[in-house]
Symmetry: none
Subunit: 207 residues, 4 copies
DNA sequence: AATGAATGAGCGTTCATTCAT
DNA sequence: GATGAATGAACGCTCATTCAT
């Protein structure tokens, strides 16, 4: 049972107490991740074979599996980074004091992130078996709910739905926006295009 | 005299001038289609092998390929039937005289159709390489544009966007709705859930 | 056993005593043949499916099999036409009185025919399972043997080999010539290129 | 450190620095190759399925594709070995000092090789899409040109053609010889039969 | 920490051929 | 004379995954 050596869980402490092996390990894992994402963005998820990722990353197949459970794990990791991205930029994007404005700014930030990731990643994320969307405890989701709750308490957001209900409503629309953009191969500016939708959502929040 | 080698295009004339062979052929094609859709709805697109469809339909693999170019062709055919469905039910669903109401009724009809088709079909249709959405001349699309144009002429729909602009806006949202429903495995009633979105869209149309 | 209607053997008599059906039959068969050869020349033997031939010829698959046993039968028929071609042009190409010259002229005619047929046909004829070459009683073969026999009797061709031995020797070289030309996609003029070989053969015949 | 993901290129160094895995890998590849060649020689190229090769070699299909891109790759590898064979035996076959004799000996060696390979291999190599013939930088080709060049410089070979021209001329004939032998299922001794052709070529070289 | 040889079920697809009509 | 629906064995090939080293 204990045949498999335990995968080296990403350590959060960035203290200098890292052996050279640990440093190399981190480098290797990042190398794999970056190449994989690049390839997936370029040629699509399904058409990117693990073998190809390994070849490009100058890493053996065994090494790939040492760090990731499979191809999907790569995408999942990327997806989780969305949270980090949102965290990192929240304070610089969400600056208003008006709750509805804050929601609008936050949604714009989310769409900005989608635009940065690119078409193929979106198409892959918005894909049948990917149920990552549904992780209710994700930062992105809970942050949005918090913003809405604050708005409701302050009185500028309707109590027509619960915060969770509003969140779902909003996510549904934004997914439609991202998906349409990806379907059309990103041939228009998603941030501009999303404006109208965000505007409309804001109106609805107030109603 | 009517010389043709393959894919016997569905003939529109249902005149009795059909030989027994032609009748059998039609039956066979329908048989394949029905079984295929059933299986895809039940166990998903990817997990439905052509071989399985054939076995269930009591038809050889060769016969399958005689009628369809592949698995995707089945789904495409289904998709094209959406138009027929919308055409057939338009008059019984779209009954109001108010333009905005007419749009709402029409969108409800569309969501009704989505609900009838089922999760897997939707997931498959909402798929990267499927650019069927974009066929601007589809009945569904042009009908929607017409309804909006009439509303604009009559004055109850805003001229903020062109009919095509509105159409795209609306389709984007509805796709989000359908996609969310499919992602959540159809565990809620899509028609009820879509109500709020349609309501919101209607408000926005009037603005 | 007698289930299959007997294929209508090409009738040689072109007497007007042909029914309209026989005329149509001949037209159909020729149609199939011409299209088939065209396609094979264009896209190669292996890549030309019977289905495609039928589609282009506006003929059903059944009809194809009514006239030909299969795809190879088409090529065989073409091959047999070589004899007819050689017969038809013999008198205008082979005009010398000197036996060795006559052989040279005859070989030039043969190469001329090869050049007319084109690369793909040659590649197909020079193909593993095609043993048509070996039919010793073909006109082309016997004619060549006759020319050599006459040369030996007249004294200007060496008796080093029997007529059949010479014939085989010559055919071997000419096949090499035709094959090289086809391999190089017919990018040089085969008739010019064959000159040296024919010259050399002629010298050897005299030795 | 030597990171590589697939097709482990045959390493030239036969140093004992091979791990047991590498030795086994080499064995496996050779096993596949040998079985494949045996089967192709016995039952023909087209009739030899990859599946059969694998079964006989006690190797999975995946393993086959790990080492070879496909069936043709096996034949290509064999073909490339011709050069090695010619190199290895050159000194023991080409022993005369007379240039024309040297060419004759060299051609005899080539035909000897053809005889060793067998009918099916030849038929497969002499095949339409196989453009390996044309690799002008192959050892076999350049060696022949060298021999001719030396003969021209020494004065015993005609300058009627360039070395390359002579080479092509000769190759054309030898291919004809090999092809005829293969077509007749190797039912005669190719080396004896080629004698006359080589003789004739030699005469022509001197002319 | 890293390797890479080995797996093999399973895939979609082709196509010459038949025969009842 | 002509049709064309139906066949199905057989094909080459992919790829995520494992595990002894």
């Amino acid at each position: 049972m204990a045949k498999k050596v335990s995968p080296p869980e990403q350590q959060q402490n960035k203290l200098p107490g890292l052996t050279s092996r640990q440093i190399r390990a981190r480098t290797t894992k990042k190398q794999i991740f970056d190449i994989a994402i690049t390839l997936i963005k370029k040629q699509g998820y399904a058409k990117t074979a693990i073998k190809d990722i390994c070849r490009k990353a100058s890493v053996s197949i065994g090494t790939f599996y040492y760090y990731y459970q499979g191809k999907q794990a790569i995408v999942n990791e990327l997806y989780l980074r969305a949270d980090q991205f949102l965290k990192d930029h929240f304070n610089s994007w969400v600056v208003s004091s008006n709750p509805v404005e804050r929601v609008k700014e936050y949604l714009a930030l989310y769409i900005h992130f989608v635009g940065l990731e690119g078409v193929d990643i979106v198409l892959n994320i918005y894909y049948p078996s990917n149920h990552l969307f549904l992780y209710e405890n994700r930062y992105m989701i809970t942050r949005l709910e918090d913003l809405i709750r604050e708005g409701q308490e302050e009185g500028s957001i309707s109590r027509k739905f619960t915060p969770q209900g509003w969140m779902r409503y909003i996510i549904t629309v934004l997914r439609g926006v991202a998906f349409d953009w990806a379907l059309r191969s990103g041939e228009y500016n998603i941030e501009e295009s999303a404006q109208a939708h965000i505007e409309c959502l804001a109106d609805y929040l107030r109603s």
